[in-house]
């Protein structure tokens, strides 16, 4: 081989040849392992009496996202040895837990994010049914988690069925089912996929304007559905929004709860604003207000401008009051400052 050709040949081997060889090696390895594990009925009885199947379905593994890339020992290191190393697991939960770090070596970022999740917090507290990697993604049959997008809510629904059902009936869920559009939020858009925060805390609740706002201030996205992007700014300038902003910035936990998006619109069951069942429809609004303001009279909901900015048509009195001060304040302060300056000028001139 000439000196000139050496580099391209080496590079071609590294980037093309090696993976092929590796894939070949992986396939050989799978064949070897499945000669035992491909047979149904290969089980392990755990000290707890529970039985863990050790059967791996060849077809579903080969179809899986890892099927063409990974062999068995990629996830089960050390198992090329015969007999296999002992795996001291007293029950199924411990058996599953012993595989938990398997994904880390390749998917380090998502693995560490998941360590911050409410699921891992539950696991650490001893809740053995809280999910980790394989519970959502599957083990030997791992597929892309978001194809189709409805698959995501299906995955979550295996534990959170009530929420998933409510979501399915919501404006988001229905639109997703009809269009499969990436515009529509699925579970993981609001809750995140790996660093899933505790939704029961105040922190999460107070973040909801930001969560909803991330799509509802997106001009291009909202235009497609004829929705206003002013909902976020009009919320912030109102009493609830101001309070929420200030509470979010304070160190001390607030005693009084202040309404955020989900308090009026709902959480998983958010309806189209104009739907008959919508909490924010004019005729349902009083009932929604009284959740936090018991005894609110029928006039009370009109104190909220329904995300409208004051204009001569919507809330003319509010608009006129704002205009009045927009004129009065500069006139007043300008006039007084002018008097001050005239006075000072006279002092200087007369000196």
């Amino acid at each position: 081989m000439t000196r000139r050709l050496r580099a391209p040949v080496v590079l071609a081997f590294v980037f093309w040849g090696l993976p092929l060889l590796a894939a070949d090696a992986a396939r050989d390895e799978v064949d070897t392992c499945l000669s035992c594990h491909g047979e149904k009925g290969i089980d392990k009885k755990l000290p707890s009496g529970e039985v863990q199947s050790l059967f791996v379905d060849r077809v579903s593994f080969e179809k899986s996202i890892h099927g063409a890339k990974l062999g068995c020992t990629g996830c089960h290191p050390g198992y090329q040895e015969m007999p296999h190393p002992e795996r001291p697991a007293k029950d199924l939960a411990a058996f599953t837990a012993s595989f938990r770090e398997t994904c880390k070596s390749c998917h380090f970022a998502n693995y560490t994010k998941a360590l911050d999740s409410v699921h891992f917090a539950a696991l650490s507290k001893g809740n053995s049914i809280a999910p980790f990697c394989a519970d959502c993604h599957g083990a030997h049959d791992v597929q892309k988690p978001n194809e189709p997008r409805t698959k995501i809510s299906d995955t979550c629904s295996s534990c959170h069925s009530a929420e998933a059902e409510a979501y399915g009936q919501s404006v988001h869920g229905k639109t997703l089912a009809a269009t499969n559009s990436p515009d529509v939020p699925v579970c993981t858009d609001c809750h995140k996929s790996h660093a899933i925060a505790d939704p029961k805390g105040q922190t999460w609740r107070m973040k909801s304007p930001e969560t909803c706002g991330s799509c509802h201030t997106d001009e291009a996205k909202m235009k497609k559905y004829g929705l206003s992007t002013k909902v976020y700014s009009s919320y912030l300038t109102d009493f609830h929004g101001r309070s929420a902003s200030l509470i979010a910035g304070q160190k001390k936990q607030a005693e009084k709860i202040v309404a955020v998006c989900v308090d009026c619109h709902g959480v998983h069951d958010i309806a189209r604003v104009k739907d008959a069942g919508s909490r924010v429809l004019q005729k349902n609004l009083l009932a929604t207000c009284t959740k936090c303001h018991p005894g609110a009279p029928p006039n009370f909901p009109a104190a909220w401008l329904s995300h409208y900015e004051p204009s001569p048509k919507k809330a003319p009195l509010v608009w006129a009051t704002a205009l009045f001060y927009k004129i009065l304040i500069p006139l007043m302060i300008g006039g007084l400052v002018l008097q001050v300056l005239l006075h000072l000028w006279r002092v200087v001139v007369n000196r």
């Binding site: 006039n299 009370f300 909901p301 005239l342 006279r346």
Partner: protein, 241 residues
């Protein structure tokens, strides 16, 4: 020590002090709510100990301020009806001509500054501005404090109207105080650094001669000096003989 006369009664001095302290408290606890997005708003809220406490203090100070305002209005009304009070704060036609003359003098169009009685046109303007502004703040503040009660009798839209009015009227009052009032009470060359009159109740005869010659003349029975007027007047610092 220069000769001094009593200008403000104890009641007036206490009233000023109370309003001053309440005004500061209300501004400190009110502006973070108006300018909720700023870092200084978050700083003040944290320094006070959270939004709930900020609102509690604002409402308590507001209630006290309402009591002080209503007390003042009731008292001056009664005194006026009983003809026990001088009508020194009531704007008259003379105040308009005074204003025109004073401004002409500032501009060099008049030879003499205006001569004032107990309160000059600027003080009357500030007093009535403060009184009307206080009423706006009290009424809108109560609406915002008790929206459930208020909307029992009035349309809901009045609540955001009250919010806009309260927020803007408060800002205007604050701006008037930090420009106009602070200038007149502290920064003006006539009183720099501090006009203590409203705290001690006493004012020097010399200042009376310059600033309120008509009142001085009324009280002492002497005719007003021919060249009194403002401290800014040429050579105007000699006390009356």
């Amino acid at each position: 020590m220069t000769e001094a006369v009593v200008r403000f009664s104890k009641k007036q001095r206490v009233e000023h002090l109370v309003v001053m302290l309440l005004f500061m408290t209300l501004a400190l606890t009110g502006f973070p709510q108006k300018f909720y997005e700023t870092r200084w708003a978050a700083f003040i809220v944290n320094a006070i100990g959270g939004l709930d406490r900020v609102r509690f203090l604002h409402r308590m100070a507001g209630l006290l301020f309402s009591v002080a305002t209503i007390f003042h209005i009731v008292l001056i009304t009664l005194l006026a009806l009983m003809r026990r009070a001088g009508m020194t704060m009531v704007p008259t036609r003379r105040d308009f001509s005074d204003a025109i003359q004073q401004i002409s003098w500032y501009l060099g169009l008049a030879k003499e500054p205006a001569q004032f009685d107990r309160y000059d046109y600027r003080q009357k303007f500030e007093y009535w501005g403060m009184l009307i502004g206080s009423l706006v703040m009290v009424v809108t503040g109560l609406i915002l404090y008790l929206p459930l009660l208020f909307t029992r009798f009035f349309p809901g839209e009045f609540v955001p109207v009250a919010q806009v009015a309260h927020s803007n009227e408060g800002l205007m009052a604050f701006l008037v105080v930090i420009t106009w009032h602070i200038y007149n009470a502290h920064l003006s060359p006539d009183v720099f650094p501090f006009d203590t009159c409203i705290f001690t109740g006493k004012i020097s005869v010399e200042r009376m001669h310059h600033e309120h010659p008509l009142e001085l003349a009324r009280v002492t029975g002497e005719a007003a000096d021919a060249s009194p007027g403002h401290g800014a007047a040429p050579g105007g610092s000699a006390p009356p003989a």
